[in-house]
């Protein structure tokens, strides 16, 4: 029995099972978006408000640095106009969705875990059970809905700001000086809607997973207040591992 519990592989499958169970139980309350819209709206507000500013700023710099690196190489090959497609594709397909998901894990996932873990440690979750109110209904599902609703918006904003950052850097950095018209035309020539859509699907999967991982980590916290901090760390690290790991497989599937 002990051998089974301390085995890392058994542990892994135990975790996977926990998440699936939590997901299953929460989906039973999917109707909260109709029956208790204020709860979902509140979570959307918190999630969007917390992450939108930082997502915008970081996306801008990701686009900027991509343009810088691409400009450096492409100027030596005298094909500067391809900066547009390089920045456009790499940010839409990879960097924007992954960075949005990372930021979500750090900014929103950590806050969710901290909140739910403290509710668990201070018996508030037990109090909910006693009152016959399931935590999945009032805590987990509204947050999952918020991720479902918000992720497409957050990722499209991130992609656009990335592109914009690339355009501005390409125009104003001395050794590049690419006119915006050429940048955007090249970007348009190479990017199809599917690229953006693929990026959004990724962000959507990651965002949902980040919230699920954060909720599960919070609700399974046991012990004293000290464990709240540990749980937050675990939640963020596990989310990031999940994001990078799944990213590979989604990318492969989207090819």
């Amino acid at each position: 029995m002990n051998l089974l519990l301390n085995n890392p592989i058994a542990n892994f499958f135990d975790k996977v099972g926990q998440h699936l169970l939590l997901l299953w139980n929460s989906l039973g309350y999917a109707h909260v978006i109709f029956t208790q819209p204020p709860r979902v709206i509140e979570q959307c507000y918190i999630m969007g408000y917390r992450s939108l500013p930082i997502i915008s700023i970081l996306s801008f710099f990701i686009g900027a640095v991509l343009a810088l690196q691409a400009g450096f190489v492409l100027s030596q090959l005298s094909v500067l106009e391809y900066i547009g497609s390089f920045v456009g594709l790499s940010s839409a397909r990879e960097l924007a969705p992954v960075m949005v998901a990372f930021l979500l894990a750090g900014r929103v996932g950590s806050a969710i875990t901290a909140e739910l873990a403290s509710m668990k440690v201070y018996s508030e979750i037990d109090a909910l059970h006693i009152m016959n109110v399931s935590p999945e209904k009032i805590l987990v599902m509204p947050r999952l809905w918020a991720a479902i609703v918000l992720m497409p918006f957050l990722s499209i904003i991130a992609i656009l700001v990335c592109w914009l950052g690339g355009a501005i850097i390409a125009e104003f950095i001395g050794f590049i000086q690419l006119s915006p018209q050429i940048y955007w035309r090249n970007l348009q020539d190479f990017i199809v809607w599917k690229d953006v859509a693929d990026g959004m699907v990724k962000a959507w999967v990651f965002g949902f997973a980040v919230v699920l991982i954060a909720c599960n980590q919070g609700l399974t916290t046991t012990g004293g207040p000290r464990e709240i901090g540990n749980s937050v760390t675990k939640s963020v690290v596990n989310s990031m591992i999940f994001i990078l790991f799944t990213n590979f497989f989604i990318t492969r599937a989207q090819m």
């Binding site: 508030e124 006693i130 009152m131 016959n132």
Partner: protein, 270 residues
Amino acid sequence: MGESKQARLRRNILHRDTDVRIDIESVSVSFGEQSVVRDINIAIEPGEIFVIMGASGAGKSVLLKCIAGLLKPNLGIVKINGMDASERETHHEINSTLVFQAGALFNSLTVFDNLAFFPREHKLYKESEIKEKVLETLRILSLDHAAYKIPAELSGGMRKRVAIARALMCEADMIMYDEPTSELDPIMASTISEIIANVRNQFGLTSVVVSHDRDLAYGIADRVAIIHKGELLAVDSPENIQKDPNPLVQDFLNPTINIDDPRFKKLETT
């Protein structure tokens, strides 16, 4: 699926005349190596005020959690009207509530919203009726001035009273109190005893009270159980238990203060 269960629950709550009997059958609980509750058998009758007493760390809160269904005993079973207390289904049939030792208030909500939480969540009444009931309950517990504070702004005793008030809002058929009078002054403590007795008399609900408070036990209990290191020492009416010959029971009920106890010799010399 969600809706019909919700509706049934709502009906059960509003119905509120279920007789609840609790059978604790050979319950043992251990955490790792430490055995905390050992083979306890108690039958609690419908409408009874049953007081569980015992030294700190004796396992009272753990036993209460088993009754509340928050903890599954390692051995034995707690039955509520014949149904396993650790199954969620049981709690959909029988609306029970628990006053946690540490309150377990919702820290992000005001006192008012803490009290209104249960009726709102189960859509028991209109918002105006809820407001009326909440304010009434707060008044009984002298908490009217604290309605819009959050739990972090309350004193320990106030938090305890809010926890009791919140439990009273649940309109349960069975109520459990974990040390409802600790942290309270003697006047407030006797008020709480009166409330416990009153609620029982009014609604006939089964009440399980964990307490060290002898005044409460002698004043309102129908029966008292004494637990010592996880084992049941005695169960009897308050009158009989005071005459119990077991020295452990007598030590607990009538402790003597002995400042010359050899245990303290070390302290004095330092």
